[in-house]
């Protein structure tokens, strides 16, 4: 029988937060799971943020190729349909559609609002559910309301009343209540939808073979209870960008708090994954299931004066975990090189069609890219737009033979040239530098970008 496929994306998870990559981390469930699995040491995400990375995961293409790399008109809610067009119009068939064509029962439950059903990621899924801080399926209604009234702040209540939209009023009040309720009940670490997703899976039974795609948001900011309400209500999740732009500096104690909270979230994610895996074992489907545990990007914890993700292609942001369990806990011989999320689609289909034990993921050379020049800002942050845009740029990086070359392709300047993570110079390694540049030049394709000069 064809193996079931479970793809778990732990949003914003960096490698050192979990035990298979860092002995000091306390994630026993993931560690047990990794003993049955293949642990890839050099996985790179094709983009430093959620939307392009997930599109790469499902299309097998880099952002340059699938073009789902920007939220086109700054306003998320009105432009989701454009992403659906892009995803649909792609030359590549989505992983979910490929699996559905092969007779799979395709189910997804996601917590990241960027992956809400309107985004187009529901293509190819029989069932696609988005969880929210406030609970199941409230967000869909909320987006309609947001389109009309803007952000869900208390200030919109009188306007709704004046318009006489009673049904909206009820929905908004319920949303506020649920969020408040969730806030009250949540301790530290914060629960951001993961437990609702787990409840849903534990109470469902899936016809086999199934494809289950999960996106867990626990590792993503906000990390402190005090940030929670503000971020949820205002969608004010850009404090990190303000920090990077120098508009607002985090105090040392705040940074410490965030770091501590981040690793605590890993413990919570671990327990959710542990319960899911026990459930699979008890239901007798574990053995015949391919389970992929990975992330769409990591998180910079101010190692290079930057907190968060997106914008830059630092190692903390694009080096991600990749753990794959095959049916019957088969092991594969992992080759030297790097793994890109863009290869995961073909690998999964290879498992479905051929039962392979060959490492078809690892490549000599992989890339990562960022393309945003503007981002969506809430009205209260609009005045910082220029400053924030200053940090944004098209960036490209390439990994090969232990070397990494990262460039700001707006200015044609070098941001990082490293060997096994340590900075080196082009004059020390001219051949390697030029080789990486050559890879970037071909990877650039039609994009009108500047690259540094050869040495």
């Amino acid at each position: 029988m064809k193996p079931n496929i479970i793809l778990i994306v732990v949003d914003t998870l960096r490698r050192d937060a979990i035990q298979p990559y860092n002995e000091k981390a306390r994630t026993p469930n993931i560690n047990n799971f990794s003993n049955d699995s293949n642990v890839f040491q050099d996985a790179i995400s094709p983009s430093p943020w959620t939307l392009p990375s997930h599109a790469s995961l499902f299309t097998g293409l880099y952002p340059t190729e699938h073009k789902v790399r920007n939220l086109p008109d700054m306003d998320i809610s009105t432009n989701f349909f454009k992403m659906r067009e892009l995803l649909r119009g792609n030359k590549s068939i989505l992983l979910s559609e490929e699996l559905r064509k092969r007779g799979y029962n395709t189910v997804a439950s996601v917590a990241n609002p960027i992956l809400s059903p309107e985004s187009g990621f529901d293509e190819g899924f029989d069932v696609y559910m988005q969880m929210d801080y406030a609970g199941i399926n409230t967000r869909y209604k909320m987006d309609n309301i947001r389109k009309r009234y803007g952000n869900l702040e208390l200030g919109i209540l009188p306007r709704i009343v004046l318009d006489g939209n009673v049904s909206y009023l009820a929905d908004v009040l319920k949303y506020f209540y649920d969020t408040w309720d969730n806030y009250k009940r949540s301790g530290q670490p914060l629960i951001k939808g993961g437990t609702s997703i787990l409840d849903l899976i534990l109470s469902s039974s899936f016809e086999q073979p199934f494809f289950l795609f999960l996106n867990l948001m626990e590792m993503h900011e906000p990390y402190l209870k005090s940030d929670f309400l503000r971020d949820v209500i205002n969608r004010n999740v850009y404090t990190n960008i303000l920090d990077a732009a120098g508009v607002k500096n985090f105090s040392q104690s705040l940074i410490k708090k965030y770091n501590k909270a981040y690793f605590e979230e890993a413990g919570l994610s671990d327990s959710i994954i542990g319960k899911l895996i026990s459930h699979l074992k008890i239901s007798g489907v574990y053995d015949n299931t391919v389970i992929v545990l990975t992330s769409d990007h990591g998180q910079a914890l101010r190692e290079k004066n930057f907190f968060g993700h997106g914008t830059f292609l630092y190692d903390e942001i694009i080096k991600i975990p990749l753990i794959i369990k095959l049916p019957e806990n088969r092991k594969i011989k992992i080759k030297e090189g790097y793994q890109s999320l863009t290869s995961l689609k073909d690998f999964i289909l290879h498992q479905v069609d051929n039962d392979g034990t060959e490492d078809t993921i690892t490549e000599d050379c992989v890339f990562s890219e960022e393309n945003r020049k503007r981002i969506f800002l809430t009205p209260n942050l609009a005045r910082f737009e220029d400053i924030i845009s200053g940090t944004l740029a098209s960036r490209r990086c390439v990994f090969r033979n232990g070397f990494k070359l990262s460039v700001n392709a707006e200015e044609g300047s070098i941001e990082e040239f490293t060997l096994n993570g340590s900075p080196v110079t082009g004059s020390e390694y001219p051949q390697e530098f030029n080789d990486l540049l050559y890879e970037l030049e071909i990877f650039r394709g039609n994009d009108n970008l500047k690259l540094p000069r050869e040495v």
Binding site: E65, K91, D364, E441, I442, F443, G445, N446, D447, N448
Partner: protein, 291 residues
């Protein structure tokens, strides 16, 4: 076996007659059309590809046709300011020295990268002009399985199906996969070979998925030379020595002592000096992914 061979040669004769009959009609498709108009057609095809694909590449052998395509692409690039795409060169290990010096000089003068695709495993294992099948790596073995070869050795030449497939098509496909090229500009023309006479401007290929782009389908051999002289393009030195079509040292021969453009282009065969065509294997090569 004999029966099989007889059938095959009969089929080839039928194909040849069909080609000769069709050729007249095929040529009529672009009869009386000026070179200017054909250039515009080529330019539109190139423009369309640059608008819709992210990573194009020009397959370039330093021969006349692919150099014309490269120049047309260069013109588009200069007019629009987009990046000049790289060229893809298939190195089968039997190229003339003149070919390599032309690669160097033109790529430097015109400012583009040359990506070299080569089947190192195969070429490194050649001994006395042949390769033991058992010496090849698994990838090459799999490819041999695909084309259904049995036997212990393979001749190191380009005029056989195996040689052409392993030395040109396989490394080309690997390069497409590795560099993620989505559109390959190729200098195929309608008038040069039966198997290419029904080609279309943009043709989709699988494994790996990409498009073949043929901007100069409408050009005749005469048009190609006219274009080369019109824009003063560099000319591969062997064309001066009577070669009409150039590839490997062992499978291309001069067919006259006159320079290529001074020969009777309309009444003699352009690829007479090439062994691929004599064997009538072009169609089969193309189903395996060749140009």
């Amino acid at each position: 076996m004999l029966y099989f061979k007889t059938c095959q040669s009969l089929i080839n004769i039928v194909k040849f007659i069909r080609h000769e009959l069709l050729k007249k009609n095929m040529d009529k498709r672009v009869e009386n059309l000026s070179l200017d108009a054909k250039e515009k057609i080529a330019y539109s095809v190139i423009e369309d590809v640059f608008n819709r694909f992210s990573r194009p590449v020009v397959v370039w052998s330093a021969g006349k046709d692919s150099t014309v395509v490269l120049h047309l692409v260069k013109k588009y690039v200069e007019n629009t300011g987009v990046n000049m795409p790289p060229a893809l060169f298939l190195d089968h290990g039997q190229h003339y020295d003149e070919t390599f010096s032309m690669l160097d000089s033109v790529s430097k003068d015109w400012g583009f990268r040359v990506v070299v695709a080569k089947n190192d495993d195969f070429i490194n294992k050649v001994r006395d002009g042949k390769v033991m099948v058992s010496d090849l790596n698994t990838e090459n073995m799999k490819e041999l399985e695909k084309i259904g070869l049995n036997g212990d050795t393979i001749q190191y030449n380009l005029d056989s199906e195996t040689g052409n497939h392993l030395l040109k098509t396989v490394p080309m496909k690997n390069a497409i996969r590795k560099y993620r090229f989505d559109a390959l500009f190729v200098g195929v023309r309608w008038d040069e070979n039966l198997a290419r006479s029904s080609e279309v401007f943009l043709s989709k290929r699988n494994d790996p998925e990409h498009f073949r782009v043929h901007p100069i389908l409408t050009f005749t051999e005469k048009d190609v030379w006219a274009y080369i002289f019109k824009y003063k393009l560099p000319i591969h030195p062997l064309y001066y020595k009577g070669y009409r079509s150039i590839d490997g040292k062992n499978d291309s021969k001069p067919i006259s002592d006159k320079p290529a453009w001074e020969q009777d282009l309309e009444n003699t065969s352009e690829r007479a000096g090439r062994s691929q065509d004599k064997e009538g294997i072009m169609e089969r090569l193309r189903t395996l992914g060749y140009m």
